[in-house]
Symmetry: C2
Subunit: 407 residues, 2 copies
C-alpha cells in the first residue's frame, strides 16, 4: 500500500465515521415518527444531521433554511470535519453578509440519502445490522423536504422566514414553496429548475454507470467487502465537474496549458492542466463522498418533476401562494440555464405570485452560485432585506443581543 | 456466460479480426517506407485499410478523400463488416448525391491508431509478436494525414480534387490544407476546429479515465488477458455521446419519457428512455470498437493545435494557398461551435484564401454532420460543383462511362 492510499484510507475512514456519527447536531426520529417516502416505504429510524448559525429570536420568526446542493453538506458556514475546509457558503453567510448571522437563525441540514450524518446508504440498516447500501429505498426531493420539515417542527418553528438554495438545493426550495407555502415567508431559488432535463439525466446516468462499472462497488455492498469504488466515483465526479463549469471558464482557467511541463509527452499522462485538475477533483471527491450516496442524490434530482405532480401545470403548484419568490440564474450556466428559471417565473406569474428574477452575467457556469458573485450577493441581500421589512423583522436581532448582554 | 455475452464475444471477435485483417482494400508499407511520427519514432510496417467508390478518371483529377471522425471507419458508402450497418455517409455519397459516385473517385481510409485495419494498437507489434497495446507510439492528426498522403501517393494521385470530413475528419482536412496545399484543389471542413478546447479535452479525459479505471483494461494488455474493458469503454462512449447531441435534440427525442413502463420504478433501473438509449449506445460501441484505439484517437484530437505549429498565428498555416475552402457549422453544436469555424474563416481571410462559410440552423448538435441535413447537402453540392467547374472537371465522368461501355 502506498502512502497515497494510506491517506485515502484515512480520509475515507473519517468520511464513514461522519456519515454514521456526525460531529454536528442531529436529531433521530424513532419508530413512532417514520418518514413516509415517495417509494411507498416508511423509513425509520430517521436521523437528520444539521448545523445552525446565529440565534433564533423569541417569536421564532427569523429562521432561514439553507438547502445544500448534490454533494454539499450541512457545513454551510463552519468547517467540514471530513475535509477540514471552510463552510461552503461562507461568502453568502456571516455577519453583515446577505444571510446575516447577526440577524437570522440559519439552519442547514444534510439531505437524507446523503453521507454526512443524515440517514443514507452508509447508515446502519436496523434490520440487518449492516450498512443499507442499495437496501435504502430511493429518496426523492420531496422526501428530503419532508425530512427537513420534521427537523423544522422539531426546532419548534412554524414558519421559516426564508428557504434558500442553489442547484439541487434550489429544487428543495421549490418543493418547500409548493408543499408548504404557509411555512415559507420567502424563498430564494438559485441556478435551479423544477425538473431535470433529458441532458441532466444523461450526465448523471453516465456517472452512475461509472460507479456501478467499478468491480469494487460490489453491487453496492462495498463496505462489507472493505473496498470502495474510488475509480468509478472519481470518473463520475470528473464527468459532472465538466458540466458545472462553462466552456469560457475552462478556457480562461486552463485553455490548452500544459501541466508542469514545457512540451507534450506523447503519452496518456495528464499533459494538460485541465486533465490534471479533473483527476484531482475526482480523487479528492472519492475521499470525501460515499459512492452509494452519489447514486441516491443524483437519482433524486433525475426523478424531480414538480409539474408532473400538478397535471403538468407548473403554475398549479403555486396557486394562492403568499410566499415571496426570488430567482437567480447565470448566463453561462448550461446545466440549469436561464430558460429553466424563466419557466418557474412564468408559472409564478400565472399563479399571481410575488416574484423577482435576475439573470446574472457570469462566465463561471453552474458553479457560479457557490463562488464570489457580487451581483448575486447584492440581489439576494436586497431581496432578503425587503422581505424582512415586509415581515416586520427588526433590522437587528435584539433578542440575540439581549441574550448576549445578559449572559 | 449469458447469451448476451456470447453475442458480445462474437462481435468482439469479428471486430478484432477486422482490425488485423480487414476485408476492405489495404496497402502495407514496409521498412523502406516508414512513417515518421510526431512522437519521433518511425512506424513500420504501416498498413492503411481503405475503401474506394466511383472511378478514377484518366488524368486522376476527380479524386475526393473522405476523412472519417473519431470512431468512424473506411466504410463511408458500403456496409461495415463489423456492424453490418450501411455506410456511415450514404446520405452524402452516391449517384447524384453531393459526393457523386458517378462523377468522382472517392477514397476513405481508416485512420492510423484506429481499429478497422489500419495500423493501430490492436495490430501485431513485429518486435513482440503481440498486439501493440500502449507500445504503439502516440498518433497525431498530422501523422494520420501523413499516412493518408502515402496512400494517395500509392494510388498515383498527385492532387486531390477535394478533401472532406467532419469533426476529427475536419481536423484532418484542415491539416491536409495546411501541410499539402498544392495537393488539395478544394477542401470541405464540417463541424470542426483547428484545435481542441479545454472542454473538449476534459470530456475525452473523462472517457480515457473510464477505460483505464476498468480492471479488464490491464494497463492496455487486455488482449493478452483475454478480456476487454467493456464497461469502461461503454461509460466513455456514453459521456461522449451526450456531447454529440444538443440539449434540444435530447429533449425532443427523449425528454423525461419513461422506457417501457408507466411509472418510475424507484430503483436504479433505466427508467428513462435517455438512460436506456445511452446504455445501449455504450454497449454496442464496446462491441465494435477497440478500447485502446479509443485512447489513441481521442488523444490525437486533444493534441491537435494547428496554430501552435505556426507561432500561434493560424493565418500563417494558409499563406499563399490556392485551395478553395468550404466550412460548415451547426447552430446547436456545442462541442465544435460556430465560433471555432469562424476562427478558421478569419485566418483564411487574413491569408487571402478563397473561402465560403455557412452556419446551418439545426437542433441536432454536433452529430448533425452525419444526419439528414438538406441545407448541408445543398451547400456542399453547390461548393463541389463550383469547384469542379473551376478545375475544369467534366460534369460526367466520361472515362468511367467509356470504360463501362467498353467492358
Amino acid at each position: 500500500m502506498t502512502e497515497g492510499s494510506d491517506i485515502n484510507q484515512q480520509a475515507e475512514d473519517i468520511a464513514l465515521q461522519q456519515a454514521r456519527t456526525p460531529s454536528s447536531q442531529s436529531v433521530t426520529f424513532g419508530a413512532d415518527q417514520p418518514l413516509c417516502l415517495d417509494a411507498g416505504i416508511d423509513l425509520s429510524p430517521l436521523t437528520i444531521a444539521y448545523e445552525t448559525y446565529g440565534k433564533l429570536n423569541d417569536d421564532k420568526s427569523n429562521a432561514i433554511l439553507v438547502c445544500h446542493a448534490l454533494t454539499g453538506d450541512q457545513y454551510a458556514n463552519s468547517p467540514s470535519p471530513v475535509t477540514g475546509k471552510p463552510g461552503w457558503w461562507n461568502s453568502m453567510i456571516g455577519p453583515g453578509k446577505p444571510i446575516d448571522t447577526e440577524r437570522y437563525f440559519i439552519i442547514c441540514s444534510n439531505v437524507i440519502g446523503g453521507c454526512n450524518g443524515s440517514t443514507g446508504p452508509a447508515s446502519i440498516n436496523p434490520d440487518t445490522g449492516k450498512a443499507y447500501g442499495l437496501e435504502l429505498p430511493i429518496i426523492t426531493i420531496r422526501d428530503m423536504v419532508r425530512a427537513q420539515a420534521m427537523l423544522v417542527d422539531h426546532l419548534g418553528i412554524d414558519q421559516l422566514f426564508c428557504v434558500i438554495g442553489g442547484s439541487m438545493g434550489g429544487m428543495q426550495v421549490i418543493q418547500w414553496a409548493a408543499a408548504y407555502p404557509e411555512r415559507c415567508a420567502s424563498v430564494v431559488i438559485i441556478a435551479s429548475a423544477a425538473h431535470h432535463t433529458s441532458q441532466n439525466i444523461a450526465f448523471y446516468e453516465v456517472g452512475r454507470q461509472a460507479v456501478m462499472a467499478d468491480p469494487d462497488w460490489h453491487g453496492g455492498r462495498y463496505l462489507d467487502h472493505g473496498t470502495t469504488p474510488r475509480k468509478g466515483l472519481s470518473v463520475a465526479r470528473m464527468a459532472a465537474h465538466v458540466t458545472y463549469m462553462s466552456e469560457t471558464s475552462l478556457q480562461n482557467k486552463f485553455g490548452r496549458n500544459l501541466q508542469d511541463r514545457t512540451a507534450k509527452t506523447f503519452s496518456f499522462d495528464a499533459d494538460f492542466q485541465i486533465e490534471s485538475y479533473l483527476r484531482h477533483q475526482g480523487m479528492t471527491f472519492a475521499d470525501r463522498f460515499d459512492a452509494n450516496s452519489y447514486l441516491y442524490v443524483t437519482r433524486a434530482m433525475d426523478y424531480y418533476d414538480l409539474a408532473a405532480d400538478y397535471d403538468g401545470q407548473l403554475a398549479n403548484a403555486f396557486m394562492g401562494t403568499k410566499t415571496r419568490f426570488c430567482l437567480v440564474s447565470f448566463t453561462s450556466d448550461w446545466m440549469f440555464p436561464t430558460a429553466e428559471s424563466r419557466q418557474i417565473v412564468h408559472a409564478l406569474n400565472a399563479a399571481g405570485a410575488s416574484v423577482s428574477f435576475v439573470e446574472i452575467d457570469s462566465d463561471k457556469g453552474h458553479d457560479a452560485f457557490l463562488l464570489d458573485e457580487p451581483e448575486m450577493f447584492d440581489a439576494i441581500d436586497g431581496f432578503l432585506k425587503s422581505a424582512a421589512k415586509a415581515q416586520g423583522l427588526p433590522s437587528h436581532n435584539r433578542e440575540a443581543e439581549n441574550k448576549e448582554a445578559s449572559s
